[in-house]
Symmetry: C2
Subunit: 329 residues, 2 copies
């Protein structure tokens, strides 16, 4: 258990950020400039149920407090997948977490660590990190896209997270670009996630490589997965593209163009002209970002077209935990 | 010229609202409860150039001031089509206004009438009117759609207009629902306006009636335009639908469903769950609103699905001028 010092209030020098992923829990100590001073990763054990997961969070935070004085800590911020009720500090139905219905995580954590605790959706955390310390630190308003397994997002308005009246705003991945398009796992058709999310993009690449039109053409992608097309991942496509593979380049260019199409609609509604793209793809070659830019600029309304900027996120995989720590700063 | 009283400040009891349309200028005197006390309409004379249009505005306002004391007037609000720079009070390139590039309308009006003057985009004015005095008066946040010649929109956040960092937010009509869809006059493909805007909906109806599948089927629409299909207008379709015409009902139901598809994407991004639909269609039969609701509810993300409300705007054609007056209240 942590004890707060009661005599003189010591200077607060850092915050703890926790990124609660379905596979690993990443925790860190972040100073007031957003610099990571210390970090550690543990297994989430998501299949073991919420009690074990909460315990895993406790263990990592406790571990960080052995090296950093709790009395100097501003608080603990947690980024969680799924639906987060910011007002009650409750995490609801995070995908891929067994037996997790509703957990009042904020309350539970605060019981052990008598510090300010704040919980937020993980994509919003990453957006906030880019706003405070990353690619978006010089802009007041931007649209954040996290392009990886799925396609998530966040909206930064006046340097703060826009949550919407019910707390669930920013689902850029579920903007449909074709009402007759492929079925998305949300139940709708044509969501951008159903085109460029990891599973869909890999499946589409496999389909292209197996198509008649592709017969006789040898792609680097096939080499990289040693002919086993089920093993294709976006990083495989990206790697092949970097080696100059035409098929891989075309697939990623098309994906960028379609994301641009989505963003054109979103920009027409919000008139926010800067987009920060993070997630796995933030390591992708520049031509993907150029394709996104072209996709937006060729479709968005003329007055909005001015000054469209597509920026590469700069905080990588650390964005989630840095943003979580920022919640209590 | 109007003179302000300088001795005792009289009680402010009303505002003047001006709706600057391409055909007519509608002006009114609105009390503090949003009730129209007086109104008049003049020809815009948009083809005669900006000087004449400005003169027409002056004339109507002057006329209203012969019956209402300028000293009791809070100010003059103006709703204008096209791009409005709210900060400078400038109206840029309103469509269908000859020779109008940029006019510092606020400054010009204030020179003649020494009162607070405020200019805003016309769709935003209508949204504001519904927020303050209409269908949205009991909700803090809603999406406003104006469905008529084109498809416009406005976003009300916390009872105020959300303009976005550059002032052009709310273009719901230019959310694309099919990236390979029909060409919109904005240059993009598949914008909802290119499906359900007046011109497109009329053309589509004509096409359906002329199609082979329709041969031998007699629609009320044909009767209403006396066989001259170029004369079809949305009101014609609406009228035929109200008389039970199957083709007309199907066309409007499909249009409602497609608008629902658009709104599902917008709601996924904003998590605003109330939509107010105005414009010509706000007089449409209830089944059109049901189709919009069904279109949204069947596509939007599950957590957002709760409490989706599609409301009929209540201020009709007066929304623009009432909202304009609200700008200075």
């Amino acid at each position: 258990m942590v004890e707060t010092e009661t005599a003189m209030t010591p200077k607060k020098t850092y915050a703890v950020g926790v990124d609660m992923g379905a596979t690993t829990i990443k925790s860190c100590v972040v100073d007031l400039n957003g610099k990571i001073l210390d970090q550690l990763t543990v297994d989430t054990k998501a299949s073991k149920g919420p009690e074990i997961v909460v315990q895993q969070i406790m263990v990592t935070v406790q571990e960080l407090f052995t090296k950093h004085k709790p009395a100097e800590c501003l608080g603990i911020g947690i980024g969680a997948p799924g639906v987060v009720n910011v007002n009650t500090g409750t995490v609801l139905y995070p995908p891929n977490f067994a037996d997790w219905t509703e957990v009042a995580l904020e309350q539970v954590i605060r019981k052990t660590f008598p510090l300010p605790v704040s919980i937020e959706n993980d994509a919003n955390c990453a957006a906030l990190a880019e706003a405070k310390h990353g690619a978006g630190s010089d802009v007041k308003d931007f649209i954040f896209v996290i392009w990886g397994t799925g396609v998530g997002g966040g909206i930064i308005l006046d340097r703060e997270i826009y949550r919407g009246p019910f707390g669930g705003a920013g689902e850029i991945g579920h903007v449909s670009i074709d009402y007759n398009g492929p079925l998305c796992n949300c139940g709708n058709r044509g969501c951008i996630e159903a085109y460029i999310g990891q599973r869909y993009l890999s499946a589409r690449t496999k389909e292209i490589l197996e198509s008649e039109a592709h017969e006789g053409v040898r792609s680097k992608i096939q080499e990289l997965v040693e002919g086993n097309l089920v093993r294709i991942e976006p990083t495989t496509i990206s790697m092949a593209a970097q080696q100059g593979d035409r098929t891989a380049i075309e697939i990623l260019e098309e994906a960028g163009d379609l994301l641009g199409c989505t963003l054109a609609s979103v920009i027409n509604v919000l008139d926010i002209r800067t987009v920060v793209v993070g997630g796995g793809i933030s390591a992708a070659p520049k031509f993907v970002f150029d394709a996104i830019h072209k996709g937006v600029a060729s479709r968005v309304l003329k007055p909005h077209r001015l000054a469209i900027r597509i920026l590469r996120a700069t905080l990588g995989n650390s964005a989630g935990m840095i943003g979580a720590a920022s919640l209590v700063m």
